[in-house]
């Protein structure tokens, strides 16, 4: 058993930071919330309904960003973005893609294969994917890990916008992301 009984609620427009040392179970908690891992005993509710991965309603509300970013290394930056949007069921126009790539600073590398990007750039691509996402619940596992100051600023902006529009975010992190004005709470594991 990784951690004992937990009970928390996150409201619309609020963020929950999951904090704790390495190995305390932050990733496991996020994965359990997402439905990727079967917890031994847990109930997750989204807007009053039971959250299960085989329910379309639940899984189309979740944007999960894990340690493994989920990019295809052989494909280019823009191809990855298009695939991610299509997977969500959203149509992405070329201008929307361009705008988001500019925002994270990958516009000049849009045709580059992801395997040629640095870790920080790959993480920025993940940010771009988040930015395009329409989903209401963001489960982010250490999203700022390899980011430089500029990119961290973009992450903060994206996260703030998401919360302002009524979205929810649960973020496992080592450093707190300063979300000016947004409601947040801390969950300390261990």
């Amino acid at each position: 058993m990784l951690f004992g009984p937990l009970d928390f609620t996150v409201d619309s427009g609020a963020a929950l930071y999951v904090l704790g040392p390495n190995g305390c179970g932050k990733s496991t908690l996020l994965r359990s919330l997402a439905g990727l891992s079967e917890p031994i005993a847990a109930e997750v509710y989204w807007r009053g309904e039971r959250a299960r991965l085989n329910s379309v309603h639940w899984r189309s509300q979740v944007a999960y960003l894990g340690h493994k970013l989920g990019h295809k290394e052989e494909l280019s930056v823009e191809e990855n973005l298009e695939l991610a949007s299509a997977l969500e069921g959203a149509r992405s126009s070329a201008s929307q893609c361009t705008a988001v790539m500019e925002r994270v600073g990958l516009e000049r590398r849009r045709k580059l294969a992801v395997k040629r990007l640095s870790q920080g750039q790959k993480q920025r691509l993940a940010l771009a994917r988040l930015c395009r996402s329409q989903r209401r619940l963001w489960l982010l596992d250490e999203p700022s890990a390899a980011l430089d100051t500029n990119a961290k600023r973009v992450l903060t902006e994206i996260l703030s916008e998401h919360l302002r529009s009524g979205g929810v975010a649960i973020v496992a992190t080592h450093d707190l992301i300063d979300l000016a004005g947004a409601r947040s709470a801390n969950l300390q594991l261990a």
């Binding site: 990727l36 079967e38 991965l53 899984r59 493994k68 989920g70 295809k72 052989e74 997977l87 069921g89």
Partner: protein, 221 residues
């Protein structure tokens, strides 16, 4: 349908980016089928007798070799778990990936078979029967292979384990696939063999995507 199209187009595009991988499996098929006339000797009657069976076995092994391409890379880079969050049914995406696998594995084999068949002295009609049996059977290999590839995801000794699990399951396909050509050569009708192959295909089409999806969810847990 949306999920199916997504999975199919994506995997075909990825396949085109690593054409070398696809050609290697095809190359394996061609080389191994060529090894038999060398090893067994040039007696045309012997070659004619064993030709269909060898082509079938080599097709089976080639499929086995290529199965790790279906899910292993996606599992490793995290894109497989992203697919679980698609608004489209996951089974559809999996089905698309399986079809893409067949297009990049079974279909090239099919196209090379006439050439290889001539190597073994098979007649035109026999090659036709062989092609039909492969056309029905190689999709089954991809479909059943997908289930087992998903089950062995992330396990150590995956490759050998996969072979051990899969080859017994491939036997019914092999028996009726190779047997069809033999039946034709013996003058018995091929309807029986083809019917069984078709039945296996239908069964696999219905069951495999769902079973594979379930196996993937287990592997990701």
């Amino acid at each position: 349908m949306a999920g199916f199209g997504w999975g199919l187009k994506r995997d075909l595009r990825l396949g085109m980016r690593s054409v070398a991988e696809i050609l290697m499996v095809l190359g394996f098929f061609l080389i191994v089928t060529t090894l038999f006339p060398i090893g067994v000797g040039p007696d045309p009657r012997v070659l004619h007798r064993i030709g269909a069976g060898i082509i079938w076995v080599c097709a089976t092994l080639a499929c086995l070799l290529s199965l790790n391409r279906m899910f292993a890379a996606d599992f490793a880079d995290g894109s497989l778990e992203q697919m679980l969050f698609s608004s489209a049914p996951f089974g559809g995406i999996v089905a698309g990936k399986i079809v893409a696998h067949w297009v990049t594995t079974g279909l090239p084999l099919l196209l090379c078979t006439p050439l290889v068949g001539m190597q073994f002295g098979l007649s035109g009609a026999e090659i036709g029967v062989l092609l039909l049996s492969l056309a029905l059977g190689t999709p089954v290999l991809s479909l059943i292979g997908a289930i087992m590839a998903a089950l062995t995801l992330g396990l150590r000794g995956g490759g050998a384990l996969l072979a051990l699990l899969l080859l017994p399951l491939y036997v019914p396909v092999l028996v009726f696939g190779a047997g069809a050509v033999e039946a034709y050569a013996a003058g018995i009708g091929i309807e029986g063999h083809m019917s069984v192959l078709a039945a296996e295909l239908i069964l696999a089409l219905v069951g495999a995507p769902l079973a594979t999806a379930a196996a993937i969810r287990i592997a990701i847990d």
